[in-house]
Amino acid sequence: MKLLFSCSLLLFITAACLCGSAATRKLRGISSSYKRFYRERRSFLCIDGSRVIPFEQVNDDYCDCEDGSDEPGTSACPRGRFYCTNLGFRPHYIPSSRVNDGICDCCDASDEYNSHARCQNSCWNLGQRERAYVEGQMRTLDEGLQLKQQLIEEGVLLWREKQAQLRELQQVAEDLQIKLEEHRRRKQEVEQTLKALEAGDTRVRGKNSSESTFRLLDSNKDGSLSVEELQEKLVLVQEEELLLSEEEAVALMGGGRQMDLPMFQHSLWDVLNTENRVKIRGIVDAEDPHLKAADTAAEREASSLKKVEEAYDTINMEISDLRKKLTIDYGPDWEFLFLNSQCYQLNVYEYTYNLCPFNQVTQKSTAGSEVSLGRWGMWAGTPKNPYSQMVYENGEPCWQGGSRSTTVTLTCGTETALCGVKEPSKCQYIIDFQTPVACQPVLKQRGIHSEL
């Protein structure tokens, strides 16, 4: 009510001033803080000090001062500016070129005092709207800030939780490391035993040259192996030892029924060495039971070591993932932390956009193909508020070279959501992203010019 009153009073005063034409002309387009430069009534010193002109030449629609200061109320000076008082709304300067150009720029219509434009004084309405808007904004801000506080608290908890998780993981990793070392030690021991045993065994086996084996198989010592001799000396190992059938023996002899030494060396000897399902009877039986035990132990140790190693790697990966996540700048109060691991979607025309903060942005067309619009890059806001923008880079490559990238602009809102996506140039996307955590406790908005 008080506001309204002071306004109408001022309007009245302004109207009264208009009657005293000359004086009003001189004052046109000047803000109150500049009025002191125009107080002298005989001459006028250009504000840049460049020139003195008679006072009649102020606002006489001819530019005398280089800085345009003699024509604050006309369009005469290329560099001039006109002050819209905009009572009831926000005062501001417009370039002199917008004075009397037929377009209403000042809501108080003061810029079109000599044109065909029919400007209504809309300051009061604008002010109302602005006030409503600002109030809405303030409500949003208040609400947003409260939510933000919660999110900060959650963020702190989350941060602690993550830290604890990290510690826990690190503990597990340490334990695993100890276990790992233990397993490695044991594996080494078993392997040594096995090696020692094998060394003995190899000595025996080492003597088994092709000739001695041939002799071993050649029961009748006629210098040639027969089917019967093979059936007698060789077995098939399959769960248990099986005798060779005649066909199998013939097959082993390469389809023949006799085999001399050179032929044996070129065929069956290799089979015996590589195919462990065919063995010489008695040799298996002859294997050292200690060796067998050691072998099994070594296998067991190796597999359990592998399991532990895998677990260790997994844990380390989790740790490094978590560390990486924790090295991201989540704001001074970790308020952006909760966005991590969330995703937000928006449909624009035929596309669905998906923003997973600190991870990636994708675009999916109704046709179905998904395209990366960039992976998390960095914060890229103003130096004053670096958290007002995120950049996602190195998305899918583009036709003209380079790759898709997305700039996400964060604004204050009461919920966290995508509000708009634009592609001003090919492959360069801009996403509006609203979230309470972007709310900044600012000083009151630059006030509406409601009182003098």
Binding site: Y62, S75, P78, S97, D101, G102, I103, W399, P424, K426
Partner: protein, 943 residues
Amino acid sequence: MAPVLVLWLAVFLSGTWAVDKGNFKTCDQSSFCKRQRALKPGESPYRALLETMELTNTRLTLQLINDNNKVRLLLELYRLQGNMTRVKINELKPLKPRYEVPDVLIREPPTEPLSLLSQDENGVVLSLGAESQRVILSARPFRLDIMEGRDVVMSLNSRGLLAFEHLRMRKDTFSYKVTSTVASVWNNIKRVFSSSQADPEAEKKEEADPAAQPEAAKEEEKDEDGMWEETFKSHTDSKPNGPSAVSLDFSLPGVEHVYGIPEHADTLRLKTTENGDPYRLYNLDVFQYELYNPMALYGAVPVMLAHNAQRTTGVFWLNAAETWVDISSNTAGKTVFGKMLDYVQGSNETPQTDVRWISESGIIDVFIMLGPTPKDVFSQYASLTGTQAFPPLAAVGYHQCRWNYNDQEDVAAVDAGFDEHDIPYDYIWLDIEHTDGKRYFTWDPHKFATPKEMLQGLSDKKRKMVAIVDPHIKVDSNYKIHNEIRSRSFYIKNKDGGDYEGWCWPGSAGYPDFTRADMRDWWASMFAYNQYEGSMENLDTWNDMNEPSVFNGPEVTMHKDAMHGAWEHRDVHNLYGFYVQMATAEGLIQRSGGVERPFVLTRAFFAGSQRYGAVWTGDNAAEWEHLKISIPMCLSLGLVGISFCGADVGGFFKSPNTELLVRWYQTGAYQPFFRAHAHLDTPRREPWLFGPENTALIREAVRQRYTLLPYWYLQFYHAHRTGEPIMRPLWVEYPEDPATFALEDEFLIGRDLLVHPVTEEGARGVTAYLPGKDQVWFDVHTFQKHNGAQNLYIPVTMSSIPVFQRGGSIIPRKIRVRRSSSCMMQDPYTLYVALNLQRTAEGELYIDDGHTFNYEKEFIHRRLSFANNVLSSVNLAPEAQFSTGSWIERIVILGASKPSKVLLKTDDGQESQVEFDFDASMSVLTLRKPGMNAGADWNVMLQ
């Protein structure tokens, strides 16, 4: 806008960044060009049959006969008003009519009587009026020589290259066999009963040379490759009419400089073509065109100017088929040593340029413009094809374009950006993406859901919009435009009689037959506000792809055997774009009830296109060389009547670096059509995206354009009245100064402004040639005075745009630069009076409402002149009515001395003193606020 996507992908993938020359024919690959070019200079087989001569008051006709094949031609010769000669050659009795280009001439050119000076068996001499100009027609062989006194100005067929492929029957057809048999029987009968009166000359020849007839027959039989069918890449041209080419040579004694025949990305001065292909005129959508070569581009104006220090002439070859122009010169090939040898040996061979025109079909219809001054040639050509359309003032302002502004929000943001950065503009443009699926005359239902709201928003700021309307129409039975065209059978037909379909932006598309007047009327009616939904008064039109571009057609254009009624596409090809723009401009005029001047930009054009709007140089690239070539390309267009020319500022393909972008704005601000444009795939480049310093540089360039709008508008008015180019080569104003003949890095706007833009990367200075021995030039920024006839080195910084005002001129400016030209309508003028050595100056002031056809009666046109220390304004059009609120706020006199007082005398007899300021160091006198109305009579006296 862009050309062929398919090609684009192909080229892009292959990683090259230049035109794929293989997509376009060389002369060798174009069978008629190859055939004709194989014909070498020598004795012409053509003979004039003098006894067939008929001379009436308006024309001379006689028959020519080709002694090799006995085919007769009909020569028509006219003397046209305004010192022109028209030579028309057609078959005497063609099998079927041959195409004669309609609609390009603004009327049947008025003739003047020809008189016979003398005649004997060797030829005739005709007088071309009083100026000792004659035409000598020699009979055997046929040739024409145009003489002035004892000098030959131009000769036709002096090298014997007149060729006329007469229409014939295909030999393997039944009807041919019948006809030829009958003909030979008839011949024999004729021989037996021949009477001397029938054709004595021909008969004599036959008797004297009995071998002639059989030989001719043999010649007849010789079918060369490509006469009846021709294949290029995968496309076959069925050529049902067979060979039909025409060719003629012109010799220009004393000429070393020829210009014109746009559109080519080449030097202003045309080169000789002996060592390569001829210049080609065939409207084509050339993807990433290459510079400095004679390949065809989007438009074709078959007009060539020839110039030497004594005389300027022109040749207008009125033919719309594919055309090749060969240029040779007897001096071009000579080395310095050769020239010296000539000198030592006393060889007095005069320099000569020989030109040969070859067209695929139609007739020979040539207008020889005899000047003798450059301006005479302009007015001669203008009297044939008309002058530049007088555009609305807004179109002379700055245009902001991009493929594409994405949606209404985007448009609003860009519009607001101009206000925020205080840069004026008049038009914002929408490329193809604004449509609903490339269906022209529609809007994308999501992105441009409320076009009228958008247009109203622009209108509230006194700004306008251009939306694209291309001539290819999506084949889609749910599309009104397509259905109507189809139901009216307005589409061009393929050779088999069905609707021709080609591939373009929308996919499968039909091409309306714009050569039909009823089709054009219908098309024009589609621009009515109730037809073109979402359109408003401030929406104008852009016709792109009107070569026409057919992605899957031969050379990315239409098959030559497609049919326009009775005519083949071959006959009319170069006219298509001309007609599209004609119909569109007519539509914009009609929608306003004939009140508003239209603005239509076209990519393809032909002779006469100047009558319908503006052209631009197509899809250039963001490269320094492309910036440079914008000057000769627009100069060449201006010389042949198309003044409203510009290049995409910034370059269409690729992304300019900041320096190039700024330099391009600075250059574009001084070219007639000033529009920034960018390819879809390039990053945004609105003027404020390159840091505050560069924003300021671009702002300043655009503001310079706007301060000069009164001068620009006056130039457009002149171009509209006279046909003189706006942007003109220096030789047009200094025709006797050979130093100007090949200049193409600087130019004049009208007579009074000389511009030498900076087009070199990292330039520290430019050297400008200031012409005129007894002339002075004033730097428009510093007011420094320079003498003419010198090369002046000008150091430059990034803010420099070297521009000079001619001493002796008066240029009106409006220095209150506002949001748009329309915001500045009522603003006061500042007159810049630049004195010459005689301390005089002259200029003009032109004012009208800026947008309607009322200018024909309602305007202010005043002569401003300064002499004897008096500056006065005199009415040049006392019968015209117009009143303006604009007044004279300032008069700046360059090269002045200090007066003791200055008096203003207005027409009511009142005298008042005017305050002034004198800068002795630069000799600049500034008169403060004289205040008289711009439309009034007044005198300002310096005492």
